[in-house]
Amino acid sequence: MYWLRRAWAELRDEVFVLPSRTLALVWALGLLLLPLVYDDPYVLRILTMTCLFAIFAASWDLLAGYTGQVNFGHALFFGAGAYTSALLSLRLGITPWITIWAGAAVALLFGYLAGYLCLRLRGSYLSLATLAFPLIALGLLFAFPEFSGGELGISGLRRLANGPTPNYYIAAVSMLAIVLGLWQLADSRFGIVLHAIRDDEVAARASGINTLRYKLAVFALSAAAAGFSGALFAHYLRVAGPSTLEVALSFQVVIWGIFGGVATIYGPVVAVFILYPLTEWLGSFRSFGELRLLIFAVIVLLVLLFMPRGLTPWLRDKLETACPRCKQRNRAWRSVCRLCGAPLSGADAKIKPA
């Protein structure tokens, strides 16, 4: 009884005081409870894919948003995870429960390598150089079709579980766990160092931070998460094909990340949860089917014109304000700060939060 009351107090004082936290909690609970009330296989399938892509987008954000290493070739890690897991489970007959971890490990290795090659590059050079990596991999895959399956990829993989609901839970739980993990990491001391590297690498180095080691670690971590989602994706669709390495996928994750708002982790996740089901839903209309990518691009363009920093930062500024004195966040409709009592409305409270 005590613990229940304690939990309720925590909820009331820490979660329900801010609309963003309430929304996050409702969303997570909704994801977990949805199949109990509504288990249409089509909806579950779309949500499963959404969850997998959300991991992918969040991992991109850790690298590009927080550390400023804007990676245009994130599909390399997705594809590395997918192909590794597919080859191991099909050729050696290992259960997918183990091979997805191997896929993540190989992706981690690729991430370390890509990071090592990119250490001296920065800014646009880095973006454009990273764009090359998945294409080099793709060229090699096509050059050795008997090993990689060529254009068709590796098909006939085993699924992790049978039926739409278990597969959905695997995707949803891994998504929640990884995204929460990345979010915690990005909020920790480690994340602060990443912010510093993005804003001013020279200053970070002058403050005694081994920026090279941090950049390599972020490349590896982000790649591992992306590889994990790639491996899950391959086993869910039962095929690992060249589409997992294409430029289109790399661009897609950039769009998700920037649309949702970079350096937030939750931004790209929100973007995936809006944009991916939207494109699928548009595709289900016969007349819209051909136009869905067009509508997708137009929506992204329009949203950007009005919210150039991305969707979630804009939304958050509408729902919450930062207290001018103690910098804590408050509901936008409060008149005094919930922690220090400073007045929130008025001329001096209008200062934009950093």
Binding site: V70, A129, L301
Partner: protein
Amino acid sequence: MLQDILVTGLVNSGVYALLAIGFSLIFGVARIVNIAHTAFYMLAAYCFYALLTKTGLGFALSGVIAVAAVTALSVVCYRLVIEPVREHESAVLIATIALALIFQELMLYSFGGNYLGIPSTLEGVVRVLGVSIPYQRLLILVVAAVMLAATWFFLYRTRLGLAIRATANDLEVANLMGMNVHRVAMASVAASVALAAVAGVVVAPVFVVDPFMWLAPLVTMLAIVVLGGLGSLKGSLIGALIIGYVEAITVFALPGGAYLKGAVALGIMVAVLLVRPEGLFGVAFEEER
């Protein structure tokens, strides 16, 4: 085979140089990474095809109209889409990606996904060093050379060119000296897209036209620009020659070369970046802040 490599490499380098120099120009002046650059090249090819087959205008007239129309479109896109979000680098980036996707889907919707062939504008071949070169490929080479010379003249012998170079060098100082940097940026967008459109028009009869034809040259172009050094026009030209020849050698000399040509070209780019992170002719900035 050697002659094949020489000729194919030269023709491809010409096309790549047209694309890469335009991209480099926009990046140098306005710091825009224009992913939609080759989408304009694709649009020009489609526009040329439509004018040629639907209206029955002559080759030269259709080509000129196509280039003019695409250039005008690029200025409109710049004003409507890019300029409002100029301060946010990442927003500009995905705005150009979205533009490219929109163009691709519009063409897919109106022309279908089929490969469209355009009849050769010039028939016949010329024999040089024992290799027969179709006039069409020769035309690409000539047009590329003329356009490059015109670009050089524009940038180094006109007042607007001087303004563009000054803005590329230092935007703030150029602004303080009384140049209208917005108009300069717009002029360089128009000039660079015009180069891409010319490339699209001249290659349309040689390559096939389809809505996805912008992706492959995009990657090659980016490799060239990074190899030569972002924003350096000389670097783009030399990078185009290097990549054009590397691709030709890979295709003709290696088994399975057609698959590997992209990989080898990109591999060379990565190798150069490892030795010189700012590209062959790029300027190493001491941490832009």
